[in-house]
């Protein structure tokens, strides 16, 4: 099945390239205007499609909302107190930046990070490891900021920012993965979350979003990247 779909994509690619080669040679302004108009209509149709066929906000009663907000507050409190220490897993971190005066660490990852206490092992040429602890106070699909518990000279190692770090810390609750975000990035890339697992709950509130995702059967929790929301 995978091979068939791959072949279909390759065929679509070849068709598109052929089409583009023809389109690029277009000289008539009228034809270009027509293509622009068609594209605009296509975008409009897609926007309507997303709005009509993919409504996201789950209608909820005020009571339900209050319950969820309370649950989330408790959850965050427990996270802040370091009570959510779960199974430790390594996942890949793409980049990270630091805010030295405020003792914060900013990380981008190809994964959704967990809310809670995490430990960072910093590797410098695979020889040096330092352990720092802090609390995640801001996270979303590919961004995380960590408030360190105390001022630590982790930012520079021998005057240079380390090139790699590994984060340990993943959590699983009843085969569900909770994503709580307090913001969404100001870019076009605020997720649509694509993945082969289903959303069991989603709530968009002013200021933050809570999404619970069911872990698909057969997927091991240790396979963190498979569970993670991408895009």
């Amino acid at each position: 099945m995978g091979l068939i779909v791959a072949c279909i994509f390759i065929l679509i690619g070849i068709l598109l390239i052929t089409l583009m080669r023809r389109l690029i040679n277009i000289e008539s302004i009228r034809k270009i205007k027509l293509i622009i108009a068609i594209y605009a209509i296509l975008l409009l149709v897609a926007t309507i499609y997303v709005g009509v066929f993919k409504p996201d906000v789950v209608p909820m009663t005020k009571q339900e909302k209050n319950t969820i907000v309370k649950e989330n507050t408790d959850f965050l409190e427990r996270a802040e107190n370091g009570q959510l220490k779960g199974k430790e897993e390594t996942f890949f971190v793409k980049t990270f930046t630091t805010d030295v005066p405020n003792n914060k660490l900013f990380i981008t990852s190809n994964t959704v990070s967990d809310i809670g206490q995490i430990i960072i092992y910093m590797n410098k040429v695979n020889t040096e490891k330092r352990v720092v602890e802090g609390t995640v106070y801001h996270t979303n699909a590919y961004y995380l900021s960590l408030q360190l518990n105390e001022s630590q000279p982790f930012v520079k190692v021998d005057g240079k920012t380390p090139s790699t770090i590994t984060i340990h810390g993943a959590r699983e609750i009843d085969k569900r993965f909770r994503v709580a975000t307090d913001t969404m990035p100001l870019f076009p890339f605020n997720p649509p979350y694509f993945k082969g697992y289903s959303k069991s709950y989603s709530l968009i509130l002013p200021g933050y979003t809570i999404i619970d995702l069911k872990v698909p059967r057969g997927v091991k929790v240790k396979d963190f990247n498979k569970l993670i929301v991408q895009k």
């Binding site: 870019f187 649509p192 082969g196 991408q230």
Partner: protein, 244 residues
């Protein structure tokens, strides 16, 4: 005075129309960029049978739309570099004042920037639609124009303003290069040296600004940069006109 103003406005409008016609191909290229990246986003994913949910499992990489946007920034930069010396415009739009040319150029850059902002955002929906039609019931939606219009607006403004400032920068660099090469080299060196020194901080500012909700604070430096470029070009062109 009033008649002068009206005449000038008419002049800018006419010139703007000519310039839009001349750059219509640029809009078409933007569509091509978006289509290519939509295909790459879909095609770059891992295509495999899902052993867990029974549906087709496509893993998407999130960075593709970011690359598409960065690509479009390079594209607007290239357009703005070419814009003042575009041969088509020079031949078909002769006889207009320098001020009218400047206004029309910046107006065109603004329109292109707004187009980038809007189409980049909406092309995501096109991508979602295509994936949804292919995959069926496997997308968990995030913020969209429907459920969070304020986020959409903030995204749109940020993307457009950043694109506009990049366009203005290209335009100003071109004007500066033609006005005085030594001054151009000096200014580029003055700008590049601190950028090189503070690259970490700058990167941090960009990243933190992009992902924070402080849209206004993030956009202000870019608006400032745009105004600086517009002012710089206006002064240079004005001086050239007086000399001429």
């Amino acid at each position: 005075m009033l008649t002068d103003d009206i005449a000038h406005r008419g002049e800018v409008k006419e010139l703007f129309t000519i310039k839009v016609e001349s750059h219509i191909r640029a809009f078409f290229h933007l569509i091509l960029i978006e289509l290519v990246f939509i295909c790459l986003t879909i095609g770059n994913g891992t295509i495999a049978d899902s052993d867990s949910v029974g549906n087709l499992n496509i893993t998407f990489i999130f960075s593709m739309p970011v690359i598409a946007y960065v690509f479009s920034l390079f594209w607007i930069f290239a357009i703005s570099l070419k814009m003042p010396s575009n041969e088509v415009i020079n031949t078909s739009a002769k006889g207009f004042s320098v001020r009218a040319h400047l206004l029309a150029d910046f107006l065109l850059l603004l329109v292109i920037s707004l187009t980038i902002g809007l189409t980049m955002l909406l092309s995501n929906y096109l991508e979602i639609m295509l994936v949804d039609l292919l995959k069926q019931d496997s997308i968990v939606m995030g913020y969209t124009i429907w459920n969070a219009p304020s986020v959409f607006l903030a995204n749109f403004l940020t993307m457009s303003i950043v694109a506009f400032s990049v366009g203005c920068l290209g335009y100003a660099l071109h004007a500066l290069y033609h006005a005085s090469l030594p001054l151009f080299i000096l200014l580029v060196a003055i700008v590049l040296l601190p950028i090189n020194y503070y690259i970490d901080s700058l990167y941090g500012f960009l990243r933190n600004g992009i992902f924070s909700q402080e849209a206004l604070l993030f956009n202000l430096p870019f608006l400032g940069l745009s105004l600086l470029c517009i002012g710089l070009v206006y002064l240079m062109r004005n001086k050239q006109e007086v000399k001429g």
